[in-house]
Point group: C2
Chain length 335, copies 2
């Protein structure tokens, strides 16, 4: 058995891609196990887009990895030595092993590790993908946020990725028409021929937006969004009224600073709900609302002000006043 551990540490924060200055491989002696600790040898490491986010010193859903720390990563490992009551030699575990050869499991962070069940037909690597973070992400993202109805059209971007490929298949199970967007003809063949997507579109083809339109003749009801940027915009352009966007990832923006993506980054990280809103959808309730507003107004709880412009001939100027912020309260043309 080795007496040293090789580990990738975060040496500096990346500007775009991962360069040799960002992650540095070093070797350290394995510490003696103390009571309550177990040591696991890492067998598989999950490589996920979110790792790029963890490296950046920006507000995010977990603390960013600190400079000098072992890089965070999910993995599957086997217990090789244990003084921990919950784990014995030979157990397979999954959790945040870190980007290294050996993970030390201590009492207090046991929650980071779960024993792998042994299930026929399932291999260990399935617990990093289909039954792990990606499968769970596809499952909850599509079912709880996207709320698909049978017959609806679902578009999945990064559809040949670990999460997108599962999201599309769950969409099929739910009875949706599923269109995947991916970056090569080979990926497109895989999701269409092997996974059963109804259509697959290679966004590197010059006419991919035309193909997207042809593949979604009834528009798009749900966007399971993994990419952001131009791809997301093309999907938004074809969304139906009251559609839902599951904002799961924005990989096109992780390696650059794009202000157009910054807003959606906040929406994603903070799990915000952004809803477009136009009063026309509430016509049936206008009477009740009007009564309540009138009551508040008469009780003095609602105050207002008018900015009055006199004369029909001033109407165009009045419209421009709105954009110059020249009105306070309601802007009205009086004839």
């Amino acid at each position: 058995m080795s007496t040293t551990n090789r580990h990738w540490n975060l040496a500096s924060r990346p500007k775009d891609l991962i360069t040799p200055e960002v992650l540095q491989l070093s070797e350290s002696p394995l510490p003696e196990l103390e009571d309550g600790q177990a040591r696991a040898r890492v067998k598989y490491l999950s490589i996920d887009p979110t790792m790029r986010v963890w490296m950046a010193d920006i507000p995010q859903y977990m603390p960013p990895v600190q400079i000098g720390e072992v890089m965070r990563a999910f993995g599957i490992a086997e217990i090789i030595e244990s003084r921990h009551p919950d784990f014995k030699k030979g157990d397979k575990v999954t959790g945040l092993t870190g980007l290294q050869e050996y993970a030390l499991i201590t009492g207090k962070d046991t929650r980071k590790f779960q024993k792998l069940p042994s299930i026929p037909f399932l291999s260990d690597v399935n617990f990093l993908g289909t039954l792990g973070i990606n499968g769970l992400t596809a499952y909850f993202g599509l079912l709880e946020v996207g709320r698909p109805q049978s017959g609806e059209t679902l578009v999945v971007s990064a559809a040949a990725g670990a999460t997108g490929s599962i999201a599309g298949q769950i969409g099929k199970i739910q009875g949706c028409r599923v269109v995947g967007i991916a970056g090569s003809d080979e990926k497109c063949r895989w999701i269409k021929d092997d996974l059963g997507f109804d259509h697959a579109i290679n966004y590197k083809h010059p006419d991919w937006k035309t193909q997207l339109a042809a593949a979604t003749p009834n528009g798009i009801d749900i966007d399971f969004e993994n990419v952001g940027g131009e791809i997301m915009q093309a999907v938004l352009d074809r969304m139906n009224l009251h559609g839902r966007v599951v904002l799961c990832g924005l990989i096109s923006g992780y390696t650059k600073q794009d202000p157009a993506l910054a807003s959606f980054g906040q929406v994603l990280i903070k799990r915000l709900r952004v809803e477009g809103f136009i009063i026309l959808d509430y016509v049936a309730k206008f009477m009740d609302a009007g009564k309540q507003l009138g009551m508040w107004k008469m009780m003095g709880k609602l105050k207002d002000k008018q900015t009055i412009v006199k004369g029909l001939e001033k109407a165009p100027e009045a419209i421009n006043m709105l954009f110059a912020g020249a009105n306070t309260g309601k802007l009205i043309v009086e004839l």
Copy 2:
């Protein structure tokens, strides 16, 4: 009584602001009334940011105004002549009068016009603002989309505008801490001193973002967004987890073509729901989901693929592969 009608027609589509080429004033003889028609003299015209959207030939929530048509506008008018069973001379009506002196009400578009009730303490112009489109927009947008809870922090942009000023006051009625963003010190004084907002911030002051931070020490739970762009971004940066953005308007983008605003334009017009999503919020349901995923996997309903990279030393390259789209399915480093 006049025998002619003056009306503003859409002559060309605006590039940014309304210029003399965009709206043209002309005069036409008033037509004879036919059976089932009524004529109303317009008294007040509502000037709304959405008029700029109606002028643009873009997908939107109503058909855009066509070149040559009388410009669409809400107004209040008085019936001066009627051969319509529902309206008699002297009735006051509100509806889409158009940007003109006289509106012709015909049988089939009666739904566009409603008689104004006569209510003590309420003046006609209140039915264009507080009790009209703006009040209803504030009411449904905040209550149905924003779903405020007592004690939450609500930020309203364009807070001294017709809709924002009501939205903030309804927020106060609901027990929220309400912060308004407006474009002059005078507007700020009005919303704070007269309308009872807790804080008012003039975004033209250089340190307004610092003021916003000071006014929202517990972050922001609801953004009633009327502006978009830089103001929206500053608010998003201070949103709390699971906050809500009522996307009611994007006035900063109506007079320019800003790709950063294009996405939110689609969200607004189509009333999309965009939700950020991170799997951590569903930890309590992981077990059940895992069982379902495992079942689907064993039934052959979920297929997957791994792209395996061998050797811990390849981990940084593997991370970069994600951004180059070099993997199909789950990307894993095998040790």
